[in-house]
């Protein structure tokens, strides 16, 4: 609460800051940098509408002659979109849903539980943040193979949950101080069990944290390459990013289709980000301040 108040004060002051010459210069410099940052994205869009002929004959910086969606149709076909898109969406949605459920309850129980085990658990999960799964891809592949998790949907979802959980617990844990203990206590006096207290009292207060968690995990799982390429070799289980990578290596000269494929794959995550952005920024604020 104190934090929110401080923030309000701060933002109230922004209009009163005079727009000086320095601010104007900053604004101009940042605009130039922002245009530079956006130009690769503009390039992707531009190429995704070009025909193969334009690619070879016209200047790379020229705009497409006509707005045609041929590349998108081709990309849809080459990526086997009706399968890969649905697969990726399913893996991402299922993993993120489980993570949101698990990380919230785990972090809350660790924050509230008394005893050595809970303290140990916190440190135990932190180790997972310091060792990204990519560093352990080799034994992760082996254990997946031994437990018959490779080439199955539940296997890859299990691994996304296992590799994402430590960050999620850490993130949610830093939000627990924003949940007032009095509310939990009064719920308990009313006879709520620990589980009911979580779902009726704590969870509604964790909205910004949940939005942050959902965005962060979604784009990581949606974009994951290494785990998806190790765990899945069956065609009907492949993900979008893996399909895009094979498209990249197959089409080095005519890459207009590849650019259209990129647009298609980025779009869902961009939409998710834009729709949850408000909560996400708030979530990042609490997380960063708490450390």
């Amino acid at each position: 609460m104190a934090l929110l108040k401080r923030k309000n004060k701060n933002s109230e002051e922004i209009p009163s800051t005079p727009y000086t010459k320095t601010t104007l210069i900053t604004q101009i410099i940042m605009t130039i940098i922002a245009v530079l940052f956006l130009s690769p994205l503009a390039m992707i869009l531009n190429y995704s509408f070009k025909t193969k002929k334009e690619l070879y004959l016209n200047s790379p910086l020229a705009l497409p002659e006509a707005l045609q969606f041929d590349n998108y149709v081709k990309a849809f076909d080459k990526l086997n979109m009706q399968t890969t898109f649905v697969n990726t969406l399913f893996y991402t949605a299922a993993s993120v849903l489980i993570l949101a459920l698990l990380c919230g309850t785990t972090a809350w129980a660790i924050a509230r539980g008394k005893g050595k085990f809970f303290k140990f658990s916190y440190i135990y999960f932190i180790v997972g943040i310091l060792i990204p799964y990519q560093a352990l891809f080799l034994p992760i592949y082996t254990i997946g193979y031994k437990l018959n998790l490779t080439n199955t949907r539940h296997g890859i979802i299990f691994m996304y949950v296992a590799t994402g959980i430590s960050f999620g617990v850490f993130l949610m844990n830093s939000f627990m101080s924003t949940v007032p203990l009095e509310l939990e206590e009064s719920a308990r006096i009313d006879g709520c069990s620990v589980f009911r207290t979580y779902f009726t009292v704590v969870l509604p207060l964790l909205k910004p944290a949940m939005a942050t968690l959902i965005i962060m995990q979604s784009f990581q799982i949606w974009n994951d390459y290494l785990l998806a390429s190790l765990y899945v070799s069956k065609k009907q289980l492949k993900t979008l990013t893996v399909a895009i990578q094979s498209l990249f290596s197959a089409q080095t000269s005519d890459y207009t289709t590849a650019m259209a494929a990129i647009v298609i794959s980025v779009l869902p995550i961009a939409i998710l980000f834009l729709s949850l952005q408000k909560y996400f920024i708030k979530g990042m604020t609490v997380g960063a301040v708490k450390g």
Binding site: R6, K7, N10, Y19, T22, T23, Q27, I29, M30, A34, F37, L38, L41, M43, L102, C103, T106, A109, G113, F117, S121, G128, I129, L130, I131, Q134, A135, L136, F137, L138, P139, I140, T142, I143, F158, V161, A162, S166, S193, V194, Y198, F219, W222, N223, Y225, L226, Q245, F248, Y255, A258, I262, V266, A270, F273, L274, I281, A288, V289, K290, G291
Partner: protein, 296 residues
């Protein structure tokens, strides 16, 4: 009587909390911690990853590692890539955050513009920059009649720079957001007080802003370091570890050795080395930075 009842209640609650922690604890243990120990075990063998036989060879794989020129090359590439990223990304992210917090208009637009690249898969980022360097940017030479070398992925001397540009383009916006969040939570009274004490903008920056940002700095430095040490996705669609072996990272080398080269035991030794490196670097960074936080 009352006390006994409340301690019974506490025990019941403790058990319920335990039930909440256990599923996550188990999944995490199976998915990440057991593999970690497996890796250590396999690193002491000569297993090829397929056959039923494996021989215990002690620390032989580790001794071999320190004489393996290819591995040492990948080690140095990863270290250089990590140091470059940690410095550039932190400074740029902090500068961008300061600029956005300085009262410029349309802050939201800039925030989104810098953040969007990190929503894109590193596989795609690698491919996009490959095409930018080879097909799009050389056009600038035609326009201006200059002769700048844009083919950064084509030469062993420039490939690191080219990858650093691509990686920083992707991640600066993300870390900027954390710095921005930190900046916006610095109480305005602190700046007021410093101004009253006669501190100029530079003094205010080093005596108020930096100490107040200490937790954010810790998160960003450790996060960027870990993120860079694990680089792999960025390489497979852009340089493929080349030209030659100039951009082969440790994970890339592990993959080539263990999966393509069928030296699973030896690859496991590389995995263990990387894990030890990750833990050691994080420990040193957190210790060092936390000390600064306390001083502040």
């Amino acid at each position: 009587m009352n006390r006994r009842k409340s301690s019974g209640m506490e025990r019941k609650m403790s058990r319920q909390y335990l039930v909440l922690v256990l599923p996550g604890f188990l999944i995490f243990t199976i998915g990440l911690i057991i593999p970690l120990f497996l890796s250590f075990r396999y690193s002491l063998t000569d297993w090829d990853g397929m056959s039923a036989e494996m021989k215990f060879v002690g620390l032989q794989n580790y001794v071999k590692l320190f004489h393996d020129k290819e591995f040492l090359e990948s080690f140095w590439f990863t270290v250089k890539f990590t140091i470059g990223n940690t410095i550039i990304q932190n400074i740029c992210a902090l500068l961008f955050a300061l600029a956005l917090d300085s009262g410029i208009k349309a802050q939201k637009f800039y925030r989104a513009a810098f953040f969007i690249p990190c929503l894109i898969s590193a596989v795609i980022v690698g491919f996009v920059w490959l095409k930018l360097y080879s097909n799009v940017l050389p056009e600038i030479n035609t326009w201006l009649g200059t002769n700048i070398n844009f083919l950064l992925f084509g030469d062993a001397d420039t490939v690191l720079g080219g990858l650093l540009i691509a990686n920083n383009w992707q991640w600066i916006g993300y870390w900027m957001l954390i710095y921005l969040a930190g900046l916006q939570s610095v109480p305005a009274e602190l700046y007021e007080a410093a101004r009253v004490d006669g501190a100029g903008p530079i003094k205010r920056f080093f005596n108020v802003t930096i100490p107040m940002l200490a937790p954010a700095i810790t998160i960003c430095v450790v996060g960027i370091t870990i993120g860079s040490l694990k680089v792999y996705d960025l390489l497979i669609s852009s340089t493929k570890g080349g030209p030659g072996r100039a951009s082969t990272s440790m994970i890339y080398q592990t993959y080539t050795t263990a999966i393509n080269g069928r030296q699973y035991g030896y690859g496991s030794a590389m995995t263990v080395t990387l894990v030890i490196m990750l833990l050691l670097v994080a420990l040193i960074q957190v210790k060092g930075l936390k000390k600064k936080e306390v001083q502040a």
